[in-house]
Amino acid sequence: MNRLNKLFASKNNNLLSIYFTAGYPALNTTVDIAEALEKSGADFLEIGFPYSDPVADGPTIQHSSECALENGMSLKVLFEELAELRSRVSIPILLMGYFNPIAQYGVERFCKKAAEVGVDGIIVPDLPIYEYEKMYSSYFIDNGLSNIFLVTPQTSEERIRKIDELSNSFIYLLSSSTITGYNLKLSDSVEEYYKRITAMKLKNPTIIGFGITDSSSFAKACNYANGAIIGSKFVKLLGEEGYMDKIDGFVRGIRP
């Protein structure tokens, strides 16, 4: 049982996850930020590795990716930084990024290396079910990594069932069909979508992401799922002066 499964076994509501881009605002900050987030109470983390063409991301995360690339962040550098991860951080860690950098690094090598530094799961938005299942799933499974799939309000029930079957930690529910960094509007149709998912009684826990910015949107999301993820809003904070000292207040503000 990896750290993610242990976490979900011990706690199934109000789970808070934070996303940040590795290498932003500077190199050698990944583990420092992760450690600070754990101390302030985050339940698990997503560490983004940057890509030149992040089609699913809005301006904030695009900007952080550009800066990270300029700073010299790469998968190689990230894995070097993460070498000390498990001596300092104990909550579950996921890596999140686009497929091409992984393909260049080598999918098998990437999975091995991720497991070696203590990563628990991977989120690759542009690696769809078919390709994952047909070509790569064994590398993930052999290395004990959970692969996280995304579900949107447009995803069909049949496909959600398939995703549930292929998942072994949690399912990432998108608050709406959008790129990252837009505010969650809890319209009737979104609420209906959450209710539809709840009624499906999936075997995996669900975590809502995209558009969660503060304690109120976090609380709303937690009405329908086991927890929620904050990304762009936190990445914005990392762009501010003295961000390390603001992390604790930010996280505690989300879940008072």
């Binding site: 992040p54 089609v55 809005g58 550009e66 998968l75 190689k76 497929f99 542009d126 799939f149 447009q154």
Partner: protein
Amino acid sequence: MKIKVCGLKHPENINAVAALQPDYVGFILYGKSPRYMANLATDALQTIPASIQKTGVFVNESSENIDRLVTEYGFNAVQLHGDESPEFCAAFKGRVTVIKAFGINEDFDFEQLKDYANNIDLFLFDTKTKEYGGSGKTFDWAILDQYKLDIPFFLSGGVGLENIKEVKNITHPQFYGVDLNSRFEIEPGLKNIEKLKEAFKIIKNKTQQMKYGVNEQGYYGDFGGAYIPEMLYPNVEELREQYLNIINDDDFKAEFDDLLKNYVGRPSPLYHAKRYSEKYGANIFFKREDLNHTGSHKINNAIGQILLAKRLGKKRIIAETGAGQHGVATATVCALMNIECVVYMGEIDMVRQAPNVARMKMLGAKVVPATSGSKTLKDATNEALRDWIGNPVDTHYIIGSVVGPYPYPDIVARFQAIISQETKAQLLEQTGKELPQYVMACVGGGSNAMGMFYHFIEDEAVKLVAVEAAGKGVNSGESAATTALGDEGVLHGSRTILMQTEDGQVVEPYSISAGLDYPGIGPQHAHLFKTGRGQYVSITDEEALQAGLLCCQLEGIIPAIETAHALAQLEKMKFEANDNVVICISGRGDKDLDTYINYFGY
């Protein structure tokens, strides 16, 4: 899985169906059927190859008449569609293949089939109707689980392109084949050959015969697929499910052909360039896509996709553009169809191609600058994809090249295939031969090249030459020569060859031509390159500009700088005197006048 095409009655149509090589063809000899082959000459079936079983379909006919018709038409099989008894069937067994048809509904008693088991060769299970066959409707195929005999069966009734994939999923051990009829017709008895072709392709998964074509999962060899975020999945899936049905539909084709002819001005001329022919020692032909309305080949695809979008019920169009040609083409067709149009264009390209920005605005499109990344074509594509993520229901994304997630590369290739289709006919008329020795075109993403290659790809005697932009030189660090500099990876939703760093970051390409500075190529091009079917070369800015000027001076044609790359390659080729060489003049040079002027100092 065997394929039977049933209900033929017109000689030319029979030959066209036979050319597809089904396993069985069926002729209905029942007077009440709209597909009754009355008055068909007895020798009309003689041209059908012996590998195809000719089947006579009868309903409660006398055995004398069946015998007579079997002899007259040379049937190899009889299909008995009425209330024929086991004994009646047995009389034909051994002489011809005997197929006994039954109409199935939820109350069907499979027990009654036992008595037929030793007296026939095949069953055919059709949808139960009051009349005999021809309902065009399916029955619930799950019922077939109740069938336990060991006589193989054909499945019939309502099989069409929209459910053919479900047919492929039938795992019944006695499932023998599928009977295609009314869902593949223009009118009763007249088959739609294009639709049948699609069905054959799906059923036979013809990757072998179509060595360079796309398979069902959207792959060309190692390349293609749909590497897209889940947010785009429903959009792409909707297209994937519907595009073949829509574009093979007769109404669609009629509207597409009409617009190509009367709005675009097709067919575009195939011009025998005499001074070029003299200079290069071969018969050089120009396929004049520059003469199309809006000045390039891009309009072919834009017309096709706007008709597709209309049939999908979309209310809004988005597009990306590099040089602006595709943006102008898209803005044009949106004006034509009165549909809202948003074009994403790199901020840098907007400056380089200001006249095209103005054109798009005049045509009523909103031009949105892409300010992310390198602010050129690839970023415009990213922005368009982001827009589509946010607008999944009412918006269609008109991709301008043979790139992007499957089915886009196939959609765009099909709409551009008109280029090679016309070329074949024009070559035949002008030279007496359909196939040239060479076809040549420039490649950015590769849509004009794919259109130029499309109908020649499977004819391996035709050499395909694709010309990329080397920019300031392949090794200068400022180039767009993707096959020379790229590696395999994933860009804009498909596995292909792209220019990237060791860490998998996309490298910004460079070319003087805004239409060629794309860091990838379409997945089918990647496949043609990797298999060696196509020759991929590159031409520098300078070589292209010189070739553009030469074309003005020798033939009185100012080509787009993109096209000038293909023309420049002629300098490097060695032809035989009788070689026929077709080069795609993908666009006209008006939009590039500033660049030409700056370079030559006019």
